[in-house]
Amino acid sequence: MAEYLSTWIVEAGWDGWGWLAYLLVALVYAALLLNVIAVGAVVFIWMERKISGRIQDRLGPTRTGGKFGWLQTLADGIKLLSKEDLMPGEADSFLFKVAPYVAFAAGFSAFMALPFSDGWVALHLNIGIFFLLAVLGMEVFGVLLAGYASGSKWSLFGAMRQAAQTVSYEVPLGMCLVIPVMICGTMDLVSIGNQQSGLFTNWLIFHDPFTFMIFWVYFACGIASVNRAPFDLAEAESELVAGFLTEYSGIRWSLFFMAEYGSMFLVSGLAAILFFGGWNGPFPIFGIISEATGWSLESGVFATIARFGGLINFITKGVLGVTVMIWIRWSFPRLRIDQVITMCLKYCVPIAAFCFIGVLFWTGIVMPNVNSMLSIEAPSNHEDYTGRANIREGWVKDVDYTVSQHELSLAKKAGPKVLPEAEDDDAQEGDDDKKDGEQVEGNPDEPKVEVEVNKAAFNNLNNNASQPLLAQQESLSKKGAN
C-alpha cells in the first residue's frame, strides 16, 4: 500500500512528497491497531457487563443504544471524559500523569507483532512471540508507577502486588510459550499459525497430551499476567479499595482499563495462535475450495477473501478466550497474594517444565497423534502443509517455500510462452503482472521508485514488501533478458 501510494504521489508529480505516503500508511496501520484496542475494549466491556448480568440472573445494560444496551460503554466513556481529573496532593505529578500512558502504550505496542490472519500483521518479526512476551511484561511499569506516584498506601500495596505477580508469572508463561515454539521450530507467529492449517486435529492443542495440558497452564498464567480475577490482586477492591487505581478517575482510569481489555484479547489471541490454529478454521474450507477450483490462496481476490475468513476465525477464537476470562471472573473468589505466588512457583513452573520435557520426548520418539490416526488427508490452504507440525528447523521450511514461489515466477518469465509477450513491454506491463498474480504499481523504469520500494523492504514496514520488490526486479531483469 505504501509503495502504491508513494508511486502514485511521485507519478502525480509530487516529487519529494513520497514520504507522505509512508506516513499515511503508518497512520492507517496505527489507527487500525488502535481501533482493535479501543473498539475491542468497548465491545469487551459491554460484553463483560452483559455476561456478568446473565451470570448473575439480571439483565445488564438495556437502555443505551437499543434493546441490548449496545452503546452503554460509549456512554460510560463520554461520562468518564467529562469527569474531573483529580490528582492527590501527595502524588508525584509527573509520574502520576504519565503512568496510564505507559500502561496503555505497552499493551498497544504488543499488538504490533500480533498477526490477525495469514500475513496480516503490522510488524512481521521472525521472533514475534519473544517480542510479544517482552512487551507484555512492560505493562507492569504503568501499574507500578501509578501505584508509587499516587501517594496512597493502598495504591502502593496494589503496585507491589502487581510487580511481584507479574515478575513471577513471566517464568511459567515463558516456559509455556517455548513449547509451541519448540514444536514448530520457529518464533514467527505467522509461521506457527500456518503450520497448524488443515483439519482441526492439526492444532497444537491436539498435538499430544502435554500440549493439551500446557494450554491450561498457559491460560491460567495468561490470566494472571493480565491481572484478571481470580488473580486481580493489584486492584482487589475488597482489600485494597481499588489498588493502584484508587486515586485515578476519568480518562486516565479508563486508559488502564483499555490496556487491561487489550491485553486480555492479546493473551487469548496468542492462545488461539499457539494452540488453536490461529486463523485456521476447524475445517479448511478455503483449502477445499481452492483445490476444487484452482483459485490461488497466495494472492488475488480469493486469497484476500480467505484471509478475511481467517481474520474472522481468529477474532472469534480470541473473543471466546475473553469470554472464558469473563466467566471465570464472575464465578470465582480471589486468591491471596501468597497463594498466587505459590501457584506460580509450586504448580505452574513444574508442570510447564514437565510438559516441556514430555513434548520433547513425544516428538523425539515420534509418538502418534490424532492426525496420524486419521485416514483422511485434509487439504490445506498452504503449500507448506505437511500434515502435521513437528520439530523442525524453521528456516529450512521457510527456504523451501519462498524458493518454490520464486522459481515459479522465474520459470514463467523464462518460458517461451511468456517471452513474446514481454517484448512489447511497456504497454503490456500491467496485464503481464496481473497474470503473475503480483500487483505491480508504477513505472519500473524510474530508478528512484525502485529504490524507494527497496527501502520499504529494508525498513521492514510490512512483510509484503518483498512481493512488489521481486516484481520490480523481475520486470527489470526481463528487460535485461531481452
Binding site: 516529487d15 519529494g16 512528497w17 514520504w19
Partner: protein
C-alpha cells in the same frame, strides 16, 4: 523542495552514528556512576554503560554497515553481556539490600567501614 528532504534524512546512517549513540550512553552511564550517591543510581549507571557497549557490539555485527562484520560473534557477545548484566544487577541489589539493612541508608558515602 530541498527542505522537505534534507540530506540528513535521505542519506543512510552508517556505523559511526550507532557508535556515537553507544558512546553517549556509555558516557552518561559513567557520569551517572560518578555523580550519584545513591546505590541504586550507581547500579542504573552501570546498566547504561553496559548498554552502550552492547550497541557497539551489535553495530559491529551488522552486515548493513560492513562487509567483514563481526557476525554471530557480536550478537552472542551482546547476549552474554545482557545475561551477565542481569546477574550483576541481582547481586548488586542483594548487596544494596544488605547494606540498607546495616546502615539504614543507601547513600554510598556513608559506607566507610568494612564491618557488616
Amino acid at each position: 523542495m530541498e527542505w522537505l528532504t534534507p540530506d540528513i534524512l535521505t542519506e543512510p546512517v552508517g556505523l559511526s552514528h550507532f557508535l556515537a549513540v553507544g558512546a553517549f550512553l556509555f558516557v552518561t552511564g559513567a557520569v551517572c556512576m560518578a555523580t550519584k550517591r545513591n546505590t541504586l543510581g550507581i547500579l542504573m549507571g552501570i546498566e547504561l554503560v553496559l548498554n552502550g557497549a552492547n550497541i557497539n557490539f551489535v553495530a559491529f555485527a551488522s552486515p548493513y554497515f560492513r562487509e567483514d562484520n563481526l557476525g554471530l560473534d557480536g550478537h552472542l557477545m551482546a547476549l552474554f553481556v545482557i545475561v551477565l548484566a542481569a546477574a550483576e544487577a541481582a547481586v548488586a541489589l542483594a548487596i544494596a539490600l544488605n547494606y540498607y539493612n546495616n546502615y539504614a541508608t543507601i547513600d554510598v558515602d556513608k559506607a566507610n567501614e568494612l564491618k557488616g
